[in-house]
Subunit: 257 residues, 2 copies
């Protein structure tokens, strides 16, 4: 299985600290070494860094750890291949355009027997169950809505689509269009919201701590969502199987069908 | 105006040498400092690096110059904004999926009064004439062909679409799906094909030379396509206004309507 990391905040924030711990799990403190990727939304634009080298040794991962790209929505993924060979085309996150917005998706789990994508608008390039699921989501949304619907309407539609896909296996996933970030927990996903009063956080995977009170303003709010908690001294909340959350401005909102 | 750089070869080749010279033009030896980007195809997959910092000073450009990513199709772009603000969403190259393939596009020039994109399948995210033109290309191809056609058929269709768009202004562009690279010259584009016997090449923009005979096999063949020649001691061929070439395995084929 793979691991997921997401960030959603009300101010552009860099992910250097969290990604340092997360990247260790791609070949050093854990065995997810079949490539990795990270997507940063900046305004309407999106940067996607992909590598099929383990994140613990990838030169691109090193750059990402040290280059503070500030973003309000970030999704990262380290891969332990279950379906599909190790190749760039099979490396998460995946990106497509829908309604004139970039959408980013990453998945942890295993889906079997998914219905084929009609391919009217979207087709997988690689051969993972994950990209297949992403195309199913986009295809169904595109067929239900010619234009971007208001968020409550989108949330309801997405909840139904996600529930449908989750019936085919394990579907922990993150999805973002740069305004919001949806996170679905099938088996394992944790999150926390960092806000004032900020404190010192200590990574679990590396001997590194950061004092967020020195780096933040009192109104900042940032949610971090991850497969396994990244820090030892903060109160991570475990999401429940079947739970879908929509994060916006660092705040989680439950979404139900 | 901007500058374009493309590479197409019969073996995966890195572009470190050419990109070193090209990146200097983004703020050092020339004034194209409104961002830059580069896309590398590897198999069916594609990596796209984007930055709105000038390529001469961007940490990501430094990585790309020193990390030898081997690819058979590469497109790079340094931007001097004419339409659309400097932002990530307006940074070339642009990427979309068509027929289960990633397509990459970059443009140098200025287009005015383009017809709107129907948006049935593709919509621009940013507000450049370039991404608009890319969406027009994809939309028209998608409407003509439900599946990827053979290359000769695709070439004819593309030649017609490109001629249509070129009527709206200056349309130097490069387009690739990872198998081939199309280059269209409106005002300025040069290329050369490096093949045996390989020799020493000397950059124009930086004091750097490389002996390709030490780095290549006798069967290697690589075409480099660029706005302004990159080296001082090689025979670059200037493309003609209105000329469209399809590069495959390092060989250019003229395409006519």
């Amino acid at each position: 299985m793979c691991q997921l990391l997401g960030m959603n905040g009300n101010v552009p924030t860099d992910i250097c600290f969290s990604f340092k711990g997360f990247a260790c799990r791609g070949g050093r403190t854990d065995h997810h070494s079949d490539g990795w990727g990270i997507a940063f939304f900046e305004g309407q634009g999106c940067r996607l860094f992909l590598d099929y080298l383990p994140s613990a040794t990838s030169p691109i991962a090193e750059l990402v750890q040290n280059y503070p790209i500030k973003s309000t929505n970030i999704i990262a993924h380290i891969r332990k291949a279950t379906q599909g060979v190790t190749s760039l085309a099979n490396t998460h996150p995946f990106q497509r355009e829908l309604w004139g917005q970039y959408w980013i998706f990453a998945h942890n789990g295993d889906l079997k027997g998914l219905p084929p994508v009609s391919g009217e608008h979207y087709r997988p390039v690689g051969n993972t169950d994950s990209e297949h699921a992403f195309c199913l989501i986009l295809e169904q949304l595109r067929q239900q809505f010619a234009e971007a619907p208001p968020l409550p309407e989108l949330s309801r539609a997405l909840a139904e689509i996600v529930r449908g896909i989750a019936a085919y296996g394990v579907f922990n996933m993150m999805l973002s269009n740069g305004e919001w970030l949806f996170a679905h927990c099938a088996t394992k996903l944790h999150y926390l919201v960092r806000q004032a009063p900020f404190a010192v956080a200590q990574l679990k995977d590396e001997d590194l701590s950061v004092d967020f009170s020195a780096l933040t303003s009192p109104d900042d709010r940032v949610a971090v969502i991850v497969t396994e908690p990244l820090t030892a001294n903060e109160a991570w909340r475990a999401m429940q199987p079947g739970e879908l959350l929509c994060f916006r401005d660092g705040l989680p909102q439950p979404v139900t069908v």
